[in-house]
């Protein structure tokens, strides 16, 4: 699976770090570091993280199949 995080939008709430610790981690105090192509078995966790992100910064390819619409996960203008 492929993901990208809009790090302009990310504010370091770290919800994704709690929900998918193998994919997202904080590097230092608030810099997010993530695995752009996490293994398939992480899919459920990644989708949960994408939905939980307070600023909706995580774009997951094919997320439409998940609980939230693709529109919400779009990388934004900021």
């Amino acid at each position: 699976m492929k993901i990208v995080v809009d790090l302009n939008r990310c504010q370091g709430y770290a919800q994704c770090v709690f929900l998918a610790p193998g994919v997202f981690e904080l590097h230092g105090e608030e810099a997010l570091m993530y695995t752009p192509q996490p293994p398939g078995e992480q899919r459920e966790r990644v989708l949960r993280a994408a939905v939980a992100c307070p600023v909706q910064a995580i774009l997951v390819e094919g997320r439409d199949a998940g609980p939230a619409s693709g529109e919400e996960g779009r990388s934004g203008v900021r």
Partner: protein
Amino acid sequence: MSVDLRGGRIVVVGASLAGLRAAETLRDKGFEGRLTVVGEEHLPPYDRPPLSKQVLLGRVRAEETALPRRREVDAHWRLGVRATGLDGAAREVLLADGERLPFDRLLIATGTRARPWPNPAEAALDGVVTLRTVEDAAGLAERLAAGPRRVLVIGAGFTGSEIASACRERGLPVTVAERGPAPLVGALGGAFGAFAAGVQRAHGVDLRCGVTVTALDGRAGRLTGAVLSDGSRIEADVAVVALGAVRNTEWLADSGLAAGPRGVACDAGCRAFDMYGIVTDDVFVAGDVARFPHPLFEYQLLSLEHWGNAVAQAEVAAHNMVNPGPRRLPHLSVPAFWSSQFGLNIKSVGVPTFSDHVMVAQGSPQERRFVAVYGYRGRITAAVSVNRGKWLEHYQGLIETAAPFPPDWDGVEPPASRTPVPSDVPDPKVLSHGPTVALTGHLPDRRLVLRRWGG
């Protein structure tokens, strides 16, 4: 959308972030015609920011950075072939393999490439590298993993600083040679640069400022070290040339468009200007290669090497390619970027180089948690946060409303001093090697008109 704009042939030249997002948006907006995306690299669109961070730390393989698609894109992908020319009259893109691609509307999103080391013989030494592509990143990650005795980073812009950070995190000795007085000066000014220099030295970087590399030495085709302009010598197995980017506009030299080293000039709706300053209506520009007017910055033409700008401008360009005049949108988003280095999260909104003064508005540089606010002639034009990204949105609002500088808002974590100091940005008329934002407008020193009539 009028029927004729929904059909026809659209060619996108450039298959990176801007090209991909534009292709998706074109289909989202109802384009039903033939869509062709041309890319010089063989790989499908991939994300570059991880290449100087996760990849160099060995946590992510360079090849595993492909960009997720927002949707299926029905397009003809011509990857691994370079565009070599544009025939505006015939409306054709010329490809390196000799093919001519006809179009009704064209999007130019050819981006930038790493500026090479100027001496070709030295650049060819094994161990002398640049960092821009997946291939570059894979090679550099491999070299760092091999445990070189010392890495020399030439240039302390964002890319050079992130590379130095990765080296230190891997425990590698690293020397950074920077022509300016401090790291990040080209993008954030001298006052912030002094802070950045302190951070680098605290992390064990052998930082040399105010020097240039005058020669790279090798033995049997392998790099052995470098000579600096102050006469000193560095022994190094790897030298990363991080001297900024060159805009990929050479292929447009005979196109009649306003294209040059500073990018392709376009209007607020992403339509390219021709060399006479007349706006075209069938050629659009987006991403790093574009220079566009921004009302928050006195309508100077901005070139932004920003991830967020590539996305936002591609969306506006694509929208305007399939909509008639009255429905077109301007590209007005406030510039923004991020960098992570030495454990710090640095985020910026606005244009820090468009400033005369800067002050710490919240937090403490000593504690490495603060927001610096930039002002130009009494209004706020930019803000940069260090490990305080949550505060930045407030300042974006101040920038958008041209709030007075210095700000009178008394937020949490008030700084020790509210005295503005000169932001000390390099003269924008000089093409600096390292800024991720270039103010390219006006060029008052070039009172030059070129006329070239048909034929």
